[in-house]
């Protein structure tokens, strides 16, 4: 399955996922209380610098991921400008940009497996039993199995509709699609049960 980790190697790729996540959360939380436009601008430059440290190619890739935010930032700044509050508008946009950019930086430089490991460790630390953690791991594996299967079955349904009708299928396919998916899930459950089933949580 496609993940969002960047192929361009940066120094951040070798950092451990847990501390990277903790640093992002603390920095974003701290920045949320900043009310000075100068500090907001400085932090924005700092975050841009973090991307540039990974090289121009990496920075461009990061910028491409952040492009959909442009409309939102424009809308927020435009709203504040309309109300005659350009500075609060700039600070709000800076906070949003910094929070999203840092989160994107963590996603781009951390493997899916490393983040899943953090999740597993976090569940262990808060006292979730091994049996329950095993069920979560099974559910994750099943979702990754179901997504392409659903896409394939939806495709077959659409083909079958097109072969029989000149009209667009649209929402009419939702019902048979849901039934096929539910029946598939029931069969998978039977197969898991036939192989010994899952361990009951204490």
């Amino acid at each position: 399955m496609i993940s969002l980790t960047s192929e361009t190697r940066t120094p951040y790729h070798s950092w451990r996922a847990g501390p990277k996540l903790a640093a992002m959360c603390l920095f974003t939380l701290g920045f949320f209380f900043v009310d000075s436009a100068i500090w907001a601008a400085l932090v924005l430059v700092f975050v841009a610098g973090l991307y540039l440290l990974g090289g121009m190619r990496f920075a461009r890739e990061g910028l491409r991921n952040l492009r959909p935010m442009l409309w939102i930032c424009g809308l927020i700044f435009g709203w504040h400008l309309y109300r005659g509050e350009p500075l609060p508008g700039f600070i709000a946009v800076a906070k949003l940009t910094v929070a999203v950019s840092l989160a994107n930086l963590v996603t781009m430089t951390t493997q899916l497996a490393a983040l899943l490991e953090v999740l597993e460790r976090a569940m262990k630390r808060i006292g979730i039993s091994a049996a329950l953690r095993g069920r979560v791991a099974l559910a994750i594996a099943l979702v990754i199995r179901f997504i392409p299967v659903l896409g394939e079955k939806g495709g077959y349904l659409a083909q079958a509709w097109r072969a029989r009708s000149p009209k667009r299928a649209g929402w009419r396919l939702f019902f048979p699609f849901a039934l096929i998916a539910i029946d598939d899930a029931e069969q998978v459950a039977d197969a898991i049960r036939a192989r010994g089933g899952v361990t009951e949580a204490e």
């Binding site: 399955m1 496609i2 993940s3 969002l4 980790t5 996540l21 974003t28 991921n65 952040l66 959909p68 442009l70 409309w71 939102i72 809308l75 927020i76 709203w79 504040h80 508008g89 709000a92 906070k95 949003l96 999203v100 950019s101 840092l102 989160a103 994107n104 963590v106 996603t107 781009m108 951390t110 899916l112 983040l115 999740l119 069920r135 979560v136 099974l138 559910a139 994750i140 099943l142 979702v143 990754i144 179901f146 997504i147 659903l150 896409g151 939702f174 019902f175 849901a178 039934l179 998916a181 539910i182 899930a185 029931e186 998978v188 459950a189 898991i192 049960r193 089933g197 899952v198 009951e200």
Partner: protein
């Protein structure tokens, strides 16, 4: 137990599959997709607990980096941005839709599950989304509510569809409601 896990996983995958259907963007940059139809269905078909768990699993996988949110987005960024309120609201939306649908299940028909989807998937979801937008954009709740208005027509259509699909599926697979 196995059945519950597979159904929760299935609905997490179903929401992801619906989120990937063709979309169009609003001026605010928020994509309109069938993702929220998936959230409503998770609640109305699976009930409150399993529905909310399916949504939680979907969000967890998106957060660790699978591009399964609307518009092919994923990773931690959407959880830190203006849509964070909506993402948090997904869990509550599925739970409330499921709770109401379960309560009204005996009465049958498509209207009550559609109403459950409407209350969970529109009223509850937008309450979370609007508070999130207001907090992130530093605007009033009234202003953020105006930004949410363009969603409402599409969402109302999805609630009606969720009611019709729930009625049809429950008639075909009545055992689905049993945990």
């Amino acid at each position: 137990m196995e059945r519950n896990i597979t159904l929760i996983a299935l609905f997490a995958a179903l929401i992801a599959a619906l989120a990937m259907l063709p979309k169009f963007m609003l001026a605010s940059g928020v994509p309109i997709t069938a993702q929220s139809l998936g959230i409503m269905l998770a609640g109305t078909l699976l009930g409150p607990k399993r529905g909310a768990l399916a949504v939680l699993l979907y969000l967890g996988l998106a957060a660790v980096g699978l591009p399964i949110l609307a518009g092919g987005k994923g990773g931690l960024a959407p959880f830190m941005g203006i849509t964070a309120g909506y993402l948090a609201g997904f869990v509550a939306a599925a739970f409330v839709a499921g709770l109401l649908a379960q309560k009204w299940r005996e009465k049958g028909g498509a209207i009550l599950p559609a109403l459950a989807a409407f209350i969970g998937g529109i009223v509850v979801l937008h309450a979370f989304g609007i508070v999130g937008m207001a907090a992130y954009a530093d605007v009033s709740l009234a202003a953020a509510s105006v930004w949410a208005v363009p969603f409402l027509i599409g969402d109302a259509i999805k609630a009606v569809l969720a009611g019709l699909i729930t009625q049809a599926v429950m008639r075909a697979r009545p055992g689905l409601a049993k945990a």
